[in-house]
């Protein structure tokens, strides 16, 4: 009885929450396009740090220079400063400060059935939102999350974009589609990549305390 009536009574609140969550996730999501191919979308990225650090997939950032379109609509030049093909991660730097970064989440809190949202630019559609649940979490030998497999409708342009939990915290970077499932790289793996390449993990909790 409880669950069904709750879904009904909470319908309005759910709709309001979803749209404000979408707007929130949009604030730290960027579009990444190739500088030479005008207009053609290459992929999506996540603002990682206020001082201009952007994270995306290595398969999105195969060149050295890109154009990044911020949530404000501003277009800026971006330079690829690190790339790891095996991890399928890349870091870009843009000459903009005081950006609003994604709030850090924890992939270890995810369980099968956890609600997740993805934002991206599939097929050139700006800021397409997708809702789904965690299907399962693939763990490495040490028991740490290696992949988040999600029951969520993704398309190629989602690559490099954020996967957030029900509170809007970043839990993964969408990377590929495997047997219909969305596969995201857990934030912990991204942190490790940044620490070993650009020399800082660069979560900025002080921004969120402000």
């Amino acid at each position: 009885m409880g669950a069904r009536s709750r879904f009904g009574a909470a319908g309005d609140a759910l709709a309001v929450e979803m749209s404000s969550l979408a707007q929130f996730v949009r604030s730290f999501t960027v579009a990444i396009t190739a500088a030479s191919r005008r207009g053609s979308q290459a992929g999506t990225g996540v603002v990682w740090h206020p001082d201009g650090l952007i994270v995306t997939n290595a398969h999105v950032a195969t060149r050295d220079n890109y154009t990044v379109t911020l949530a404000t609509g501003d277009k800026v030049d971006a330079e690829v400063i690190a790339r790891d093909k095996d991890a399928d991660l890349a870091a870009l730097s843009i000459p903009v400060r005081a950006l609003r970064p994604a709030p850090p989440g924890d992939a270890n809190t995810l369980r099968p059935g956890s609600l997740v949202l993805a934002l991206g630019h599939p097929f050139g559609v700006a800021n397409a939102l997708a809702l789904g649940v965690v299907h399962h979490v693939v763990r490495d030998g040490a028991g740490d999350p290696r992949w988040i497999a999600a029951d969520i409708q993704l398309a190629p342009g989602n690559s490099g974009g954020p996967l957030v939990d029900a509170t809007g915290r970043l839990v993964g970077v969408n990377a590929m589609i495997v047997s219909g499932l969305g596969a995201a790289i857990p934030v912990e793996v991204v942190t490790k990549f940044l620490r070993s390449t650009v020399g800082r993990s660069a979560w900025s909790p002080e921004v969120w305390a402000a």
Binding site: R4, E17, R111, G113, S114, L115, H136, D151, G180, W208
Partner: protein, 314 residues
Amino acid sequence: MPAAASPSVLESLSNDLTGAVERVGACVVAIHARRRIPSSGVVWKDGIIVTASHTLQRDDDISLTLPNGDKVDASIRGRDPSTDLAILEVDAKVTPANVDTGDSLRVGQLVLALGRPGASVTAALGIVSALGGEWRTWHGGRIDRFVRLDLAIYDGFSGGPLVDGSGRVLGINTSGLSRSAALTIPASTVSRVADQLIATGHVRRGYIGIAAQPVQLPEDLVRSLSLSQELGLLVIGVDTGGPAQNAGLLLGDVLITFDGQPVADPAELLAAMSSDRVGAEVDVGVIRAGRREKVRVTVGERPTERRETRRGRR
């Protein structure tokens, strides 16, 4: 919007869903009875596991991975390909699922499809997209309600439970009864078939012992015999010693009615031979040498089904 707001609707919904997955996931096992990826099964009663029959590609050498990770042997207690259900027996203590055999399904209801195609439980979210009344599967099995889902099908879907937001099992999911959509066999049907399989090892089905294929009846014949149908079933095989042969049905007869009802499709004939027909005397209308004839057949019980080896389904 602050990320750490007080628990939101979305957050509590997410917690409800993960809670339901955790509770029911403790009753979902992986079944190793086919190549490649294991299928899923649900602990329905003590030591009794329900799964989708089409996922069992062998009859022996079946093992399970339990929710706690233990691997144990299991044996088939019975299977009913007509409803795509099978029952496994296992000598292990696993808590049975909280099954809801009532009529609580609603169109639009949020539901989870759980699976265990390996060590860990998996979840997919969707809604009940359509409900209907009793229907017959393409093998003639009776399903109490038609339950169609708007939900993505991944490995481990078949044999897994359909779960509501409060962790009740509403049925068993299968991709073996429809080529296009995710379907659920409602819990009431699962319990009915399971009881029969536990008692006898199979589900009784009517049988007359013929092989038949649909044929177009010549127009002038339809007119001269004033038939209400354009198709009939050409008898292309008669089992030796079977009810049809005993009743005098011949190779080449074209079957047009069964117990007074027109039959133009093998599925209609199968549907007409439910378990309650076993032992009944039934008039079968045929066209033989251009004339209508009536043959009285005593419906027998179908010998145990051959095992199915359909592949490429999840």
